[in-house]
Symmetry: C2
Amino acid sequence: MAQKNKNDVTKERLLNEAEGLFAQKGYDAVSVREITKAANCNLAAVNYHFGNKQNLYLEVFRARWVPRAGLLQEHFRKSLAAQGSPSPTAVAKALAEAFLVGPLSDEERHRHHQLIVRELGQPTEAFELVADQVMRPFFKELADMLRPVMPEGLGEKRLMLNILSIFGMVLYFNFARAAVTRIAGYEYDTAFKARLVEHIVEFSLKGLGGAEKEEMR
Amino acid sequence: MAQKNKNDVTKERLLNEAEGLFAQKGYDAVSVREITKAANCNLAAVNYHFGNKQNLYLEVFRARWVPRAGLLQEHFRKSLAAQGSPSPTAVAKALAEAFLVGPLSDEERHRHHQLIVRELGQPTEAFELVADQVMRPFFKELADMLRPVMPEGLGEKRLMLNILSIFGMVLYFNFARAAVTRIAGYEYDTAFKARLVEHIVEFSLKGLGGAEKEEMR
DNA sequence: GTCTATAGCAGGATAGAC
DNA sequence: GTCTATCCTGCTATAGAC
């Protein structure tokens, strides 16, 4: 923190390139050689800065993924606060907007979701990290927020299923972008993303019991 | 086809083991050595029967994934036909049931979805195969089926988004099983899968415009 | 902190015996 | 068709010079 010399810069570049490559190809398909070449530094740099490849992967989550998830949550909370009371509709809209448009660039968002989807399908140590520091706290926050405004007698299980489902939708449309484009021909431009947000909100409303009068901003 | 000697048996075993391993770990994380060992045959067998590793992977889709997708569609069509008119509710229910309970064993279903999710996130030649032979035709069939019974003025784009979304939900709850269990504590037993089917149907109804009177079986 | 050089091993693929 | 033996490439990781 005190010194800001070449060391830190190399480390940062390694983290950036590693994240991009791990997201794009998965852990095993990426070699340390590829990462160091992309980061324009020496092969030995990964071992010097991170000990080994595994730990570089973990550090990508610690130093990049978790903070970025914090950014997304912050964006969500602000846009929700701007809407007054947290109705199911408002929550769904703020969530979908934060995660599909939000504060991240297209590339950053895609990286972010590719990384977590790989972990969802095949959890490693990185998943535990993310589950503890991001998912469980955030899901609890959402549950506490939604519980009072949900239909009576919905139950904790159904509540959690609904929260999981919204995230499922958001993840799916982000990570399967290439496939959706090839199958349905949709380009992920601004207009389509806006439409997607609307779609996900609508799609989620029934589950969230948000059939009450629709309200916008 | 004429001869059913050791040759065919080895080939079948290779396909089975390869499918399981590719689904579980992904293409790059699996070695030919690992596959042949699991199939209890010689290292050279992969090259003899399939030419190379890449082609074995493709053959897994051609000889296993596509036929199994056919089974699922068949199950879907039968259970839909048993319900009379194809209302949005009936379609959603038949789909969710076929893909979450349906004719496959838990392990087979998991394999099936793991494989396709990897391809959705990072399409290879196998994705083109599946898109041409399975996805595009089936999505078209569903669209033709739903178009007449959907709300007026929904539009082709929204129709396709809704179809994609149901598949997204189904895929998500199948492939992220390990993560869902760790985060929410749900075991994927029979009761939970039945609940999941109900949940997905409900969750999808608004999007499908199925707010009409609910009908079952 | 960064580099070169290299150890040491695992990977895909093939040749050729049986 | 199946096997063993082997080639060669590419991998992670480290030692040691600068």
